[in-house]
Amino acid sequence: MTQASLNPDRSNRSSLGLSIRKRFLSSEPLRGYSLLSPTLLTMLFGLAMPLLVLFGLSFWLQDYVDFIKTFSLQNYSDFFAKPIYSAILMKSIRISAMVTLVTVLLAYPMAYFIAFRIKSNKLVWLILITVPFWTSYLLRVFAWKLMLGYNGVVNSGLKSLGLISEPLEFLLYNPTAVAITLAHAWAAFAILPIYVSLEKIDRSLLEASRDLGENAFMSFIRVTLPLSMPGVIAASLLVFIPTVGDYVTPSLVGGPSGIMIGNIIQSMFGKAFNWPLGAAISVISMLTVTAMVCLFLWGTHRLRRAVA
């Protein structure tokens, strides 16, 4: 049986085209990546390049409206020279960490409730949770400003109920207000990942734990909690990272004492008009956040190993 003799013309004529086509068809990675390419290229162009440019800009200097395009480390030295920048960065990290902790701690029981205690209509509860987040983010933050303000809802409500005579001043324009507002804003973002990982847990694992002698609480600690860790970690990251850079909330409810690093960066691109310095601060902030995240992941990894 000779194949060449059956169709000599076909095998000679377009054999180059055939072999290219065959190469393409046979390489699954090639076909997969060509399908992925529009998305990948867009993200490359829109993500990798700008970040590189940001990094590059941080080494230039600002001269009123122009850039001095020579390499300089002055922005970085300026950052560390003025203690206020580092202080605000650290404060932002502290606030974000606290917000993350509070948000995740409050969200976990809610996620647990829906995953384990609701039998039917889980989706209804999930939608119920997400509904408030279809109002504009700005308006939600503003709503807290309204609630906590001097003449705001809480104060005027308490006053008209006769519980206080003077409005409470400590409610607004401080880091606490920022923390409360952000914990509210990110609630849904925290609940959903935790819910998803709780939902995935095989219920028979818990039955096995009970069967082997553990009570309900210990079963939770030894089985449910460790298995839900991926969701908790995802939730923590989803809350922590964007919070560090937030400037909207601090500017609406933070007051002068509630300023965060995002406000500094924003002013560099606004009134203070020093783009390279803003770029440098951004780079430092991102590196710090990345370091914090790595620390966090390492810590949870060690914790898991210790508990297992």
């Binding site: 049986m1 194949q3 059956l6 072999s19 065959k22 046979s26």
Partner: protein, 365 residues
Amino acid sequence: MSDAIISFQGVGKRFGQVKAVDNASFDIQRGEFFSLLGPSGCGKTTLLRMVAGFEIPDSGEILIDGEPMSATPPNKRPVNMVFQNYAIFPHLDVRGNIAFGMRKSGLSRAELDKRIDEVLELIKLPGYGSRGAAELSGGQRQRVALARALIKQPKVLLLDEPLGALDKKLREQMQIELRQLQQQIGITFLFVTHDQEEALTLSDQIAVMSEGNVMEIASPGDLYESPNSRFVADFIGSMNFFEAEISGAQGDKVEITARGIGKTLVRRQEGLDATGQKVWVAIRPEKFQPFFTDPGTSENTLAGTLGPSAYLGDRSHFYVHIEGRDEPVLVALQNLTRAMNDMRRPNQPIWLQWTDEAVCTLPRS
């Protein structure tokens, strides 16, 4: 001149470091029910998918009806596949599923409807046209998958373990129907399975595969009665193996010395007749005839002690301990009468005899 509808010529495929198929070269004849049989991971499904066009061979060529296929995408090949989990389109009803591949057929609506009705009769689901995919049972989905492929009148029908998900009774029924269907319409079937009983029931020819290699291709009878390797002998059915050496030749018989059996004469086989050659002596469990008194000869006889037994309804398995061998010998007997209870008293001496035809000698490396 053979009438090969599929020809594998040096076909090879690897995934990363693993060689899934290694140099497969054989032909499938037109109109055959041909099975690829082997344990998981042996490469049978990969080979099938290469015929369908979902994998491209790294080396070698597949020809369908004489035409090389490596540059032809799946939708242009003259073959159709029945998938392992049937792949019934959930958003179409039965009619919609069956008609799916006929969009470019040029048939009028009326002609197509007629064809669909014919094929529904063929798969024994008349009137099921407007049922939704979700309403079908496993067996029904399988038939619809079959119909969907057959209506296109492919040159070869590819079946990827189609009966695996069905329960035993249904599976046996479908096996018979499948065989009848194939003989009725005359299309070549290329069938993949890991169930050797299924392969034996359905096939004209079986290719036994292991770890990417085709070990043997033969008819079910040949494969069962005279396998050509230990792997195939062991894979198909149950087999008793005895380590042996050829110790002499006498005409059309050779003398072998086997552990547990001692010296005995077996039929001479080509290539396995040199003195000192290492062989396996292989005897199927059902080929033994039991005796409770010494038959007096040592030819084709072994002596042992009866051990535990297992009752399987239509037959029973008995284990016989013999000298010089740790593993007991498996004996399978039809439960013709309940008086087989004689066989169930362990620790009594028993002699087993077999005929010349019952023995296979296999090479031993």
